[in-house]
Structure formats: C-alpha cells, structure tokens
Subunit: 216 residues, 3 copies
C-alpha cells in the first residue's frame, strides 16, 4: 500500500518546503514579525494534515507525535526570513522571479504528494469504503494548509479565488481513489500524484481558470 | 425520539437548499470562480453539522459517510450558478426580490430544522444530561455553516452582525431542550423548530435588532 | 501534579475575566450587537481550551460539561456591555486608561495560567512523552481564544502582529515542560506561569517587539 518510504519522505519534504515558503512569504509581505512568519509558514506546511487527522479522529494529529515536518518547515522559514532580512532588495530583484518559478514547481509537487498521502492515511485508518470521504481527505490534506494560511492572514482563501488549484487536487484524488481498487497501489499512487502535478503546472502555464457566474 | 423520517428529510432538504443558496450567492457576489461557489455553498449547507460532529467526537462527521445532503447542496449550487451565468441581468432584476423572499423563508425553516436536529444528535450520542452542551450543539448546527461561510469569504460573520438570527436558534434550542423532558419528544421537536422559524421570520419582518453598546 | 485547586480556580478566573473583556471590547469597537459581544467575549475566554481539547480528542471539550468559566465570561461580558451602554462617554474618558492597565495585567495572568493549565491537561491525558505536543497545547490554550476572536472579528490575529505575546507563552511552556521532570510539579507550574506573566509585562512596558523581515 505504501511506496518506498525514503522516496516518499523526499517528495513530502519538497512539498513541506514549498508550502512553508508560501506561508512565510505571505507573512513577510503582510509585514508580520518573526513569530508571525514562523506560525504562518509552519501552519501552511502542516495544517492540511492536521485538519485531516482531526476530521477522522486521528488525535493528536500525527504532526505532533513526530514533528519532523514541523522542524523542516521551521528551518525553511528561518532561512527565508534571514535571507530576506539580509538582502532587503531581494524582494524587488530579478532573483525573486527564479525563486517563484522554482517554488511554483515545488508547490505542485507538494500538492500532488499531500493529496495522495491524505487518501492513503484515510484508507489505512479504515475508511476505504467511503469514496467521498477519502477524496475529501486527500484534497483537504493538499489544500487545507493554504486555506488556514489565508484565513489567518485575513485574505479570501487562494483556492477559492483562481487558478485550477483545488481542481488539480480533486482530479488526482478521484483518479487515485478509483485506480487503487483495480491495480497495484504504488503505481496508482504515483499516477494520482503525477496527474495533480501535471494539471497544476499546465494550469499555471496556460492561465487556465474556472468560469465565474458573472461575466466581465 | 425521532419524528417521521420522510417528513424530516424533507424539512432538512429545504434547509440544505436555502443554506447552499446563501453560500453560493455570497461567492457569486464576491466574483469567486465555479469551485469557490461550490465550496462556499456546500460548506454553508453542511458546515454546521460538521462542526457539531467534530465537537462531540462523532468522527468522521456524518456528512462524509452518507453525503446525501452534500449532493443536494452541490446540485443546488450548480443550478444557481448556471441560472446566473445564463441570465446575467437576473442579479439586478425584479425576480431577485421574489427569490430572496422565498430563500428567506427557506432559510428560517433550515435554521429551525438544523437546530433541533443538532440537539437530537447530541442527545442520541449520550449527552442528554449536559444542558449547556446540547443547546450549544443545536445552535452551532444551525448557525455554524453560515459562520464558516463568512470566515472563508473574509467578512465578519453575519450572526455576529445583525438581526435576531442566532437568537432565534438559541431560543428554540432552549425550548426544545426543556420540553423534551416533560412531553412527547416529537411534539417538543416540532415546537422547538417552529419557534425558531417564527422568531426568525418576525425579526425579519419587523426589523428586530439587538442593542449595541454604543448608540448612534 | 495539581496545585491547590482553589488558588488555581482563582487564577484561571482572573484570566477568564480578562480574556472575556478583551473579546467584548473588540466586539463593542466593531459595533457588533449584544449577541456578537457575548459570542466574541465568551469565545475569547474559553476558545483556547476548546481547541486544545479537540486536538487531543478530549471531546466534548471540558467547557461544555462544566460551563463554570463560560458563565463567568458571560457575566463579565454582560457587566461590561451594561457599563458601556450606561456611560457612552466612558470609551473616550480617562477611566478607560486605568481599565486598560488593569486588564493588561489580568490578561498576562490569564496567559500564564492558561498556558500551564494546557500543559497539565495534556500530561494528565497521557501525552507527557511528546514534548512538542504538550508545549503546543499549552500555547494554544493560552493564545487560541485570542486567535479565534480575531478571525471572527475579521482582523489579522493579534498574536501574529505584535508584542511578545505568544513568545511569552512559548517560553513559559518550554520552561514548565522541562522543569516538571526534574522538580516538584507544583513549583514548576508556578515558575512556568510566572515567567509567562513576567515576560509579557516586561514586553508591554518596554515595547519589546520581534524583528520583521523587511525594515522600515
């Protein structure tokens, strides 16, 4: 049911770094202090998994018992804070563009990894028969951290606003939930995660957007 | 302890439709995309019950195991989205007034139904002896979805701002919690729900408002 | 493991009054109605403990089973509401300064008491071996009510914005978690709580602030 842990740890670690960075950048742009930057960064990285664990009654959430991802998120945030603090002009310079391109790819990888991990956790907790539940848990693991980040930062959650962000997670979650019953679990997991990443990157590249109810 | 399920399903369905519509309209007015409209609509409809279930440890919350109300909310939101998309001028026209009047009545029915269902769920889960708890759970089932809607949409929760909204739910919840011990449960439930609906409709009709601490 | 209950009840009561007042004042300044003032006040007072209990699966949260602090918060809020309502000019007068000074001290006491109580609850629930978890639970008990208050009031959480608020709680929580293993529990608890209060008061007095990433 689980693919090679070391590979998976690596993929989740990339996602953690990307999510922590996105939370920290929101906090830095809002001019929050060091603690605010740490809280938003770490919450973005591990908040989705925490919501998932609370919803299925897996308490205390896994992140508290084995805070390895919390630590990784913390280190990421501290590094980012120090770099920005040292180079004030960095936020306006050209390197920020490269940074954002790399982080966008990392973020897509994290979204894919977290989505399938969320489903896996739900299935391992014995809820494999509830299709809607496991898909929801996959998606909330993927996008929940970003929702908490935006609620705490006082902005309408990013996933509600634009780009095919949650949609990529939903599509991959449905794919993995369906495939896991008819083929090798590991392969299904990789297909699910990769489809999330692919949809997300294509959506960013080609500016795909969902329709709104009111035109113009 | 439970009244005729088919009647109750019908009443809850009306509430679900009204709550889903209110969430979807907030999202449409905020110009969120299709996914944002769906998420806000469905969250408003089922969020109160989810909060209640998490608070009493009834996990995963009922809505995930039997997502019939999620489906109903989803269909409601999609229909509303398509109608607004097809008739752009509808949001400014006269039919919107009729729509809002009907939805206001539906919303009151939903508030009444969800409040007594919340209390019933708490009692059936074995917390009948904790008066404060079951009243709170009734109220949070009634108003929780709207609170989540407003937090996600970045506005101060409606229930905190005006009209006797939560008050209607609180009054009916107290009434039902008291009556259920001294008369037939079904009748107490109907009285509780109807008192919520009545107070809510009278408050809208006569613009009742609670006092604020600072005048003018 | 627990110090004299009557003393502790007294200290927690001071914290409850301070937290309820701070929530009520935010609501009054936002011109919310009576219910909004009550909800924000009570949530600020008991919200941290509720979050803690949900995270460790201690459901329904303690506050619902024995709502003594809810009642105390409610009375505090009602008194404050009536006083402001009776004396409209009080919010602009000189007595408000004295009030804010007293409340600031009460708030520091509450932060200290809630932090160590949160850790104690976590340890008594059997999580004494998870350092990160118990420290987190102590801090969330201390600052969680204020975070909920700010999210509901639609402002960026105070703890994310300024003053050494959460930091005081974190420092005291770490201290208590470390000391409790190597000395008498009651004394460790008092040292932990007092260090929170001291850091908090010193930070207010000398305007300590954490650095931000961007200067000026």
């Amino acid at each position: 049911m689980k693919i090679d842990l070391s590979l998976f740890f690596f993929v989740e670690a990339i996602g953690t770094i990307a999510f922590a960075s996105s939370g920290a950048m929101v906090a830095i742009k809002k001019r929050l202090d060091l603690l605010g930057v740490i809280v938003l960064g770490v919450t973005t990285a591990v908040g989705g998994g925490m919501l998932r664990d609370i919803i299925i009654g897996n308490v205390p959430p896994a992140l508290f018992k084995d805070p390895v991802y919390v630590l990784l998120a913390f280190i990421t945030v501290m590094l980012l804070f120090i770099i920005v603090r040292m180079n004030q002009e960095i936020l306006a310079g050209r390197s920020i563009e490269t940074y954002e391109k790399v982080m966008n790819i990392f973020d897509a990888i994290g979204l894919g990894a977290f989505t399938v991990v969320g489903i896996d956790t739900a299935v391992l907790s014995g809820y494999g028969d509830y299709d809607f539940l496991i898909i929801f848990l996959g998606v909330i693991t993927g996008v929940g951290g970003g929702i908490l980040r935006d609620i705490m930062a006082g902005q309408t959650p990013y996933v509600l606003r634009k780009h095919i962000y949650a949609c990529a997670s939903i599509a991959g979650a449905i794919l993995y939930a369906k495939l896991m019953n008819c083929m090798n679990g590991n392969i299904a997991m990789v297909i699910g995660a990769c489809s999330v990443i692919l949809i997300r990157l294509l959506a960013t590249r080609f500016c795909w957007n969902l329709p709104t109810a009111t035109k113009n």
